[in-house]
Amino acid sequence: MSGNNKIITVALVGNPNCGKTTLSNKLTGSRDSVANYPRVTLTKNEHDIHYRGWTLRIVDLPGIYSLTSQSPEERIGRDYIQNMQPDIVLNVLDAGNLDRNLFLTTQLLEMGCPLVFAMNMIDEARSKQISFDLPALSFMLGGAVVETDAARGEGIEALLSAIVDTAIGKKKSRLVNLPYDHHLEQAVACAQCRIAALHPDSMDEQQSRWLAIKLLEGDEDILSRENDHSALIEAMEKDRQILARQHSEEVDAMFAAARYGFIRGMLAEARQMLPDPTGHKDLTQRLDALFLHPLFGLPIFLVMMWVMFESTFSLGEIPMGWIDAGVGWLSDLLSVLIPAGMLHDLLIDGIIAGVGGTIIFLPNIVILFMFLAFFSETGYLTRAAFLMDRLMHIFGLHGKAFIPLVIGFGCNVPAVMAARTIESDKARLITILVSPFMSCSARLPVFILFAGAFFSDMAGTMVFIMYMLSIVVAMVAAIFLGKFVVTGVSEPFVMELPPYRMPTLKGVIYHMWEKAANFLQKVAGVILIGSILIWFLQAFPQNVEWDKDYDAQLMALEMQVQTPYRDRQIVLLARERAQERMRKSYLGQIGTAVSPVFAPLGFTWKDTVAILTGFVAKEVVVASYAVLYNQDEADTEESASLRSAISGSMSQVTAFAFMVFALLYAPCLATIAAIRREAGGWRWAGFSVVFSLTIAYSLAFVVTLLGAAMT
């Protein structure tokens, strides 16, 4: 390798679905350059590679349709190109959809940045009998054009060499001016004069022409940058209005139409499209006829959802069993190795139990994201959103919110993560915040316990009511959040339905793996701290003053002749001790202290403690009840003795209020961690906790009031 120190910065720009992520992965060779799938790269993402002794810094910009300041992604793209001045802008194009893909290109041309073009998806274009006159295209676009098939890695070498050649000046990159009709050209020239008067010699011809066009288009970002030149802004405003009146069309629409005219002309010269000899409909048309069928489209989608859901949670149970066994084995091993005491308890009851309780979700996440990656890469995900949009729109949500919400019935953690597929910030945030209301499978044990204990003749109905309630609350919350809390305009539902494509196995597996790793890294930390905290609150203070001398009494019992009666006494005494331990722990003290807050709902300190432990994971509530009511801690929601133990402790109304509260109150720790990560900070995670607590409390209170009124 020759010692070139210079780094060539290469910014990748292209429309969504042009294969930019795949190409970027192929360029960098190593796969850790991809970020934020499936929302793709919102923040830019850099990766250095070495080629012919040069260092190429590949920067992935978000997929965008144009370079105006319409969306955050577009602003990121434009600001990067303007401020960072990359050595090469690599414009990735979908060869089968140049008519639209080149619109972005026309704006890049006007910015005057050095361009290289990747004519991607060339395999698809070829099979559609489309061919290109590359020298002509390259001349008209003023930069090298390389045909690539990113999925199969074709043309990557040629592309890299074109990039380096252009960067070192061996290949020319030429400035291209788009010609407009003479009215627009006149206005541009006039604006350039005005600009020249204000910014004498600080701008070259290209820059001033670009600025003139942007000002004429009325680009808000650029206008605000020229804010201190109020005369210029006013003059431009006037020019714009005059032009618009003359042509009875907005000026930016005129520029857009002119750009599309330029593209048409260019493609007429440089593209050859032979009519398809077979005359068959293409794959996408045939598949859409099925998947978007007026009658069958929806049932097919629901079947797919069911398969995804079933696989995620049923198939997931197998590896979950292994993880469970593995965690059990590890904690058994450590309990042998480490002498009983604080460290032992912290490790086994705190850390291993907490982290084990989290990685148990890993199989769910892996399987689920395999499906999502597959749906997204094939293009089906957009069809699903298309089918569900009408329904979701009623609640101010995007069609794409349906899948995360359904997933929420299984587990809220992957549900929150799946909201990434929604591009609009507002719609995504609302989806994230309402997902935790979907009744996840961890809440089911609580419902089964309570329904069985208090409503044994209508247990099924009660559980069903809880599920219905969870849907209603989620939808109403979505409307509320959209109206009052999550600000920002809702973006119009303009969604491309890309052609169906067979994803590469590598791509799907990679995305799946990335998700899993992501989950472990970002979520596990919070869970770890949370589990340690809850463990600490349960285990301390260590030296409580016992009501009874349990040790002595137990010892005395042990000495007796073994009879079933004696064994029973030992068990009962041990449970009593566990109960007292819980009551006198910090957690029990906190529970007792805050229980007045829950008194209006009819909850006792025991219920309060159970609720507190449920923060870790909702199914823990059942185990807590077992301890609190002197039952075997391993008792399940099905256990008859646990049911009968709690059945006397509260009225049916209170039990119903508790179920409502347990359904809706604060998301579990893992979900909170996921919200924090996906919604971008503690602020929304905290909001989610407070919001759901408020709703849970209010509704439980309403239940209590109604119950009191009826009896």
Partner: protein, 86 residues
């Protein structure tokens, strides 16, 4: 394409096309932001679009324009005014 309806000049928009019908765009209403977005997607004056599919209950619908498929809700499609064919 001759199927284009020729009555009701004033409010003839893409939302009123039937499945499989063609239309030629005359202008985009509904404000700067929506117009710019649609412009960027190829929906400019003179461009031709066809209704390809409708979701259950008829909304949203997908349109073919410039050889690719894009979905729009009725409320957006209403802002795409079409030329009246003579």
């Amino acid at each position: 394409m001759q199927e284009t309806r020729s009555d009701n000049e004033a409010g003839y928009s893409a939302a009123e096309l039937k499945l499989g019908q063609h239309g030629v765009i005359s202008s985009i209403q509904g404000g700067d932001s929506l117009r710019r977005r649609l412009n960027a997607l190829g929906m400019v004056k003179g461009a031709e679009l066809v209704v390809a599919h409708a979701a259950p209950m008829g909304d949203p619908r997908s349109y073919i324009i410039l050889g690719y498929q894009v979905s729009l809700r009725k409320e957006e499609a209403r802002n795409i005014l079409l030329q009246v064919a003579n």
